[in-house]
Subunit: 455 residues, 2 copies
């Protein structure tokens, strides 16, 4: 994995040292000698991650970090603070400034590279999702992340150990759930019921890293924050933990302030990723659905219809198409108003939906015009389906709002039918034939089904 | 990184060996002893990657691979073939069956883990994108990947070396471009002008891996296929290459058939990722745009409008809202038909667009109703903009199609205006006030601008 790294330090020797290390690992390195240069480089170079010295003249690293994190455009750019200050209060100041991690000099090279890779992976995932969202919705999505609501935190801890104050705080501020058995924890991860996991390491009778890797192998667990509470800082073991799966680790006893800060960082990232995913999913769904009826729209008809025709052509699977139209719908709108018209359309959609199989596709393609794709249905079966749909509409009157109450209204539909018959057939020819059949159905007095064969 | 790995081998000792290795690295291992079990496990376990033995009774590994790859639902599941057969024709048979990679026994553990990690990263990216797309569009997207068109391949090769037959084939079948200077190659990668890169290693005067990592540090280069043509197989160097950045490497002299097969695998993956991205982007764009006019829709108005109001509240940035309506539009539709009405709406959108700044947002929120958000504009500025918009519509008649020709039509709009004035203001209150102002504008005779202040 390669990435653009920005190193910020006012001591040239420090910069050279880090630069040599990272270039040996084939990272693309950019450098800045002070806060102003750093902020400028963040805009210009667009690094994937920033390594930031704390003690600099003019502007401290804490301040640089705060500025990066307070700009919505760079809020989620990963920042690792690097410093000679190793008091808990310094670390906490760093985290409160928004830093994603905090390493103390002299730098442990392997530890740096491990954390760098973890954060770069996170950044790449963000980039992918942010590109999906696109510029126009990105800022809105970023502003929309709510970080103050309680999180669902799962804890699998050594019962005999004293995590007292930490757990008390957690229970007071988040929706905490204790597990005795990893199986139940994994079940909840699989079902997407957790926002973070706390694991003791070691755990009597269990391998904490194995549990962690099991979480990661679940689709909903891939980016889930998993924090290890370790008893003793064994360097190799911790590096392996970070490499394999942990999001972060804390060596006991953990100052409450630091735990809180680190948990917040993890939750912030997790929530932003979730928010982005949700936003993309909503858009994609919205793009194929008619908002009034919840049926598919014309765009989806086109994409999916083409794929179905291709399948019919290649695998000889039958395919039929219904085009249907509400009879005398203009009169409904003119007499009872548009709201009543909308009620009719929604009720119609509901009745149609109940009559078809899951793989059938019902689309609203215009005001009162609908198309149904019936994969696997030949003309005979499709005719039965069409008759069933027609009857489902005319059998019982619709109830519409009028004059403060409900009143019944007779509604009927006319249906045109066509089926895939020959190699030249495309979605367009099928729709055209079904349209012609619909026209014939209207001519024949409406409330009926007509089929049009290929010429 | 952890992932679900399916090991398929009919010899229990082989399975145990691989299983122990992968579990030591904290992968989640599932196993199958023959082809039928393997195909079943692929559906049931949903592995992230399959390690597949070639020589098995009943069904060979080649056949298992072909079946996995011919099912659209598992077509892009990575498969590594593992075999004692190391003749070029065996490798080619594996690749033609669709295998993503091919390792010869005895297994080089590090080589296996390196390739496993590369393919798992690819799989995770796919999962992310496929989840964005969602079930409904996924199959259509998969069917829609066109793998037979020529690709844009960039080659940076040692001029003095004889890559003759290989390059001849490449030039005949793909759009190949030769580079002498990596700077130009990187420019083209940055601009998204390439589908694959071939790099000689070593390259006189250059560090091939450095070039490769520079490609990876560009956003458009992250998943781009980069294939190394290496002179000598130095194990450590090749593993580092794969770890850092290369998509694949080929040791010279490369049989043309194998080169072709490996390039195809890379292109297939690349194109699928590109297709998925495109499909997501299209949907997201479609979800916020009105198809008739290309203006933003009501959904985008709501998301973006809320973010702008929040900004106005937090940073004191002015914000104004215009609600506008075409005067007597129903008459246009009734007299000249819906197509003429659509022409008017499109021309109107065009004229509005020309009058506003890039950050202003014009939405079509109903048949003939439009909303414009003006961030940074106070009531005075917004009034000027509104007047400008009004005049841009009434100044010159619209041309509509009628009776086979074009005829001029006088069109006017009425505009209601409101501005962010106080902390209680929300998008809803702003729209409500602008609506009231619009009503007043209609009362005052239309073709005018009215502002409504907060009560």
């Amino acid at each position: 994995m390669s990435a653009r790294v920005l190193i910020v330090d006012d001591v040239p020797a420090n910069v050279r040292l880090l630069q040599a290390l990272l270039e040996r690992e084939y990272f693309e390195v950019h450098t800045a000698m002070n806060g102003a240069e750093a902020l400028d480089a963040v805009q210009r170079v667009k690094p994937d991650i920033v390594l930031l010295d704390v003690m600099m003249p003019d502007m401290s690293g804490f301040e640089v970090c705060r500025r990066i994190k307070s700009n919505p455009l760079t809020r989620y750019l990963p920042v690792i603070m690097i410093t000679a200050l190793d008091q808990p209060e310094d670390r906490i100041e760093g985290f409160n400034a928004g830093a994603d991690d905090y390493l103390v000099k002299p730098i442990d090279e392997l530890a740096l590279l491990t954390r760098l890779r973890t954060l770069v992976r996170f950044k790449f995932l963000l980039d992918e999702l942010e590109n999906s969202i696109g510029e126009e919705l990105l800022l809105d999505t970023r502003l929309d992340v709510d970080s103050d609501v309680p999180a669902r935190v799962g804890a699998l801890l050594n019962a005999s150990k004293g995590n007292g104050p930490l757990m008390d705080w957690l229970r007071a501020h988040h929706r905490t759930r204790d597990y005795a058995d990893p199986v139940h924890l994994l079940e909840d991860v699989r079902a997407g019921r957790l926002d973070a996991v706390l694991l003791d390491m070691p755990l009597p009778g269990h391998d904490s890293l194995r549990i962690c890797s099991q979480i990661r192998s679940l689709e909903k667990g891939r980016q889930l924050p998993v924090m290890l509470l370790v008893e003793q800082a064994r360097r190799e073991e911790l590096l392996q933990a970070m490499e394999v799966c942990a999001s972060d680790y804390l060596v006991q006893p953990v100052p409450l302030e630091e735990f809180r800060a680190r948990l917040n960082i993890q939750l912030r990232r997790w929530r932003y990723i979730q928010r982005l995913r949700e936003s993309v999913r909503q858009s994609v769904t919205f793009a194929m659905v008619d908002p009034l009826t919840g049926l598919y729209n014309r765009r989806y008809l086109t994409t999916h219809g083409r794929a179905l025709v291709e399948e019919a052509a290649q695998r000889g699977r039958p395919l039929s198409v219904l085009v249907m139209d509400l009879d005398y719908f203009k009169k409904v709108n003119d007499t009872w108003g548009h709201d009543a018209g909308d009620e009719v359309l929604r009720e119609l959609a509901e009745r149609l939906r109940k009559q078809v199989r899951r793989l059938d596709v019902i689309c609203r393609v215009g005001g009162e015009e609908f198309v149904v794709l019936l994969p696997g249905a030949d003309a005979r079966v499709a005719h039965q389906v069409a008759e069933r749909l027609r009857r489902a509409i005319c059998r019982e009157p619709f109830l519409i709002s009028a004059g403060g109450g409900k009143r019944p209204l007779e509604v009927t539909i006319s249906i045109g039918l066509s089926s895939y018959e020959r190699a030249e057939d495309t979605l367009e020819t099928l729709l055209k034939r079904a349209d012609e059949a619909l026209y014939a159905a209207k001519q024949q007095g409406r409330n009926c089904v007509v089929r049009q064969r290929a010429a």
